[in-house]
């Protein structure tokens, strides 16, 4: 059984934001909702690294643990999804998430939160795979079509890897071994409680 994960090789990331717009394009994500974003650490200084971040689909996901209405579920591929029908927009998952992944449209009262939206690993939601309802609520379901998340597929430098954890960890490991440096698989330890030894 595959365990789908993301891995950002920061030594390849150039903050080109392809992952961000690919996501917008694939799911028609509205303005102001950033399922994926790129953060630059130490901007402008030698040592600067950019990292793309979205929901990491954590092992023992904190969002799922703290959700008051238990609207999260983990698929057989290890993808953490949620039901917008059940979500009440309380914001608790945002407090728990180490990566700032949950996004809330500003709707309703006091400009506060609507139903949470986040990266689905291009795997849709609880609705039937490929259905119109699923697309409208969660976006495309590429996984069901046998494709991986578009952000990783379109990454300009193959910095963002998606796929089975073992495979992408292996790719990263060999890259680091070959080139002799690596600033770390960002978020990997926090999300999956494991490091990639190289």
């Amino acid at each position: 059984m595959a365990r789908m994960k993301f891995l950002c090789d920061a030594d390849r990331c150039i903050e080109c934001n392809a992952c961000v717009t690919a996501c917008k394009n694939e799911h028609e994500v509205p303005w102001g909702i950033n399922r994926r974003r790129v953060v630059t650490i130490n901007d402008g200084k030698p040592g600067e690294r950019s990292v793309t971040m979205a929901c990491m689909h954590c092992t023992d996901a904190p969002c799922a643990a703290v959700c008051p209405v238990n609207c999260f579920y983990t698929t057989a591929d290890g993808v953490v999804l949620h039901s917008k029908d059940l979500c009440i927009g309380c914001g608790y998952c945002f407090y728990a998430c180490p990566f700032g992944a949950p996004q809330y449209p500003k709707v309703g009262n006091f400009g506060s939160r609507g139903k949470m939206d986040k990266c689905t690993y291009c795997a849709g939601g609880p609705e039937a795979d490929g259905s119109r309802e699923e697309y409208e609520k969660y976006g495309a379901n590429r996984l069901a079509e046998g494709k991986l998340p578009l952000c990783a597929e379109m990454c300009s430098t193959k910095s963002l890897l998606a796929g089975d954890g073992e495979i992408i960890a292996q790719i990263y490991k060999e890259r680091v071994m070959k080139r002799g440096y690596g600033s770390g698989a960002w978020g990997w330890k926090t999300a999956y409680r494991e490091t990639i030894e190289s």
């Binding site: 974003r37 650490i41 901007d43 040592g47 971040m53 008051p68 609207c71 914001g91 700032g100």
Partner: protein, 333 residues
């Protein structure tokens, strides 16, 4: 304490960084960005948080990683449930035991048939408005913490989400009248709730709850003052922290909001426990007490037993009410 440790780490990290920077010119203009690249694990160890620059206006999204969400998760899922469970169930248990052993505190001298105004219509309106809001806020709030393990299995996902959604709306909207209520209570009754010497004696004598003692008190005895300050301070805290959560990021970043949620929830469950006691005393715990907030008038004998000093003041000012005593049961429902 955790934050103190973080501070140390931060200072240490800054020093290390400074050392690196100072060492750089020594190696004859060697600027090798690849070799000097930041390392995730190093940053995490030093700062326990990784932050950078983003081009989108949402600057909070510049926080790349903040694993302290885990601590908050532990609090919410474990600590808070223990605190809340112990406080509320504990309070209920204490009250049950107390009721069983002590029973209702009776009017020892019986009813005089003459009443005196204790709370005006406005005061009662404010009380009940706040009280109603509080109860709904409390239930909807407890639902967030305890609903998932207790209620959800009983009614199922859809019904529970539907109910929780409405509870959330209620929680958000009713916060406003509740806050206004707390403010009015604060202003309305502040004069009678400043602690004084009488309170010391009152407390020393245990408030007369055990046995048949009746320590003197002004309009509010020390126990009521305690409730007052719990309402004012606790209410103030839950309101302030609640708004911080309701308007995310207006006041603070994610840590602030985690902290706000911790304060909000801890204060809230203690508040609930305290209010359970308050309700007990005001209803089945003490004969004649409910009338004060029911009809607004209390029997002179009740006043004499529980608020002798206040009665004296009132008598000196106006004299007793001549009206026929009102039955005080109607409002109790």
């Amino acid at each position: 304490m955790a934050s103190f440790g973080r501070l140390i780490r931060l200072a240490f990290g800054a020093c290390a960084l400074l050392l690196v920077i100072m060492a750089a010119p020594a190696s004859a203009q060697q600027v090798n960005p690849t070799a000097s690249s930041v390392k995730e694990q190093q940053l995490l160890q030093e700062l326990n948080r990784i932050q950078g620059r983003v081009s989108i206006p949402d600057q909070r999204s510049g926080v790349l990683e903040q694993p302290q969400g885990r601590e908050w998760r532990e609090f919410r899922n474990v600590t808070l449930r223990w605190i809340g469970g112990v406080a509320i169930i504990g309070m209920l248990a204490v009250l049950v035991i107390f009721y069983l052993t002590r029973g209702m505190v009776r009017l020892e001298s019986g009813r005089s048939g003459r009443t005196i105004v204790r709370f005006t219509l406005f005061e009662r309106f404010v009380h009940w408005m706040t009280a109603t809001c509080f109860i709904i806020l409390a239930i909807s709030g407890l639902n967030i913490t305890f609903g998932r393990p207790l209620l959800l299995p009983l009614i199922g996902f859809e019904a529970f989400s539907e109910w929780s959604q409405w509870a959330k709306y209620a929680h958000n909207y009713l916060s406003f009248p509740f806050t206004i209520g707390v403010i009015l209570i604060f202003l309305m009754w502040i004069a009678g709730n400043l602690p004084n010497k009488v309170d010391v004696a009152w407390i020393k004598r245990g408030g007369g709850i055990v046995g048949h003692d009746h320590p003197p008190a002004y309009r509010f005895n020390a126990g009521q003052k305690m409730i007052y300050w719990i309402v004012v301070i606790g209410g103030g805290l839950v309101a302030a922290t609640g708004y911080a959560l309701m308007f995310p990021f207006y006041m603070s970043g994610i840590e602030g909001m985690q902290m706000a949620q911790i304060i909000h929830s801890v204060v809230a469950v203690l508040f609930v426990a305290a209010m359970i006691a308050h309700i007990y005393i005001g209803t089945i715990g003490m004969e004649g007490a409910f009338e004060a907030m029911g009809s607004g008038e209390v029997d002179l004998n009740w006043a004499r037993e529980h608020h002798s000093l206040w009665l004296d003041e009132e008598m000196a000012r106006t004299g007793p009410n001549d009206q026929t005593p009102q039955p005080a049961t109607a409002a109790a429902e």
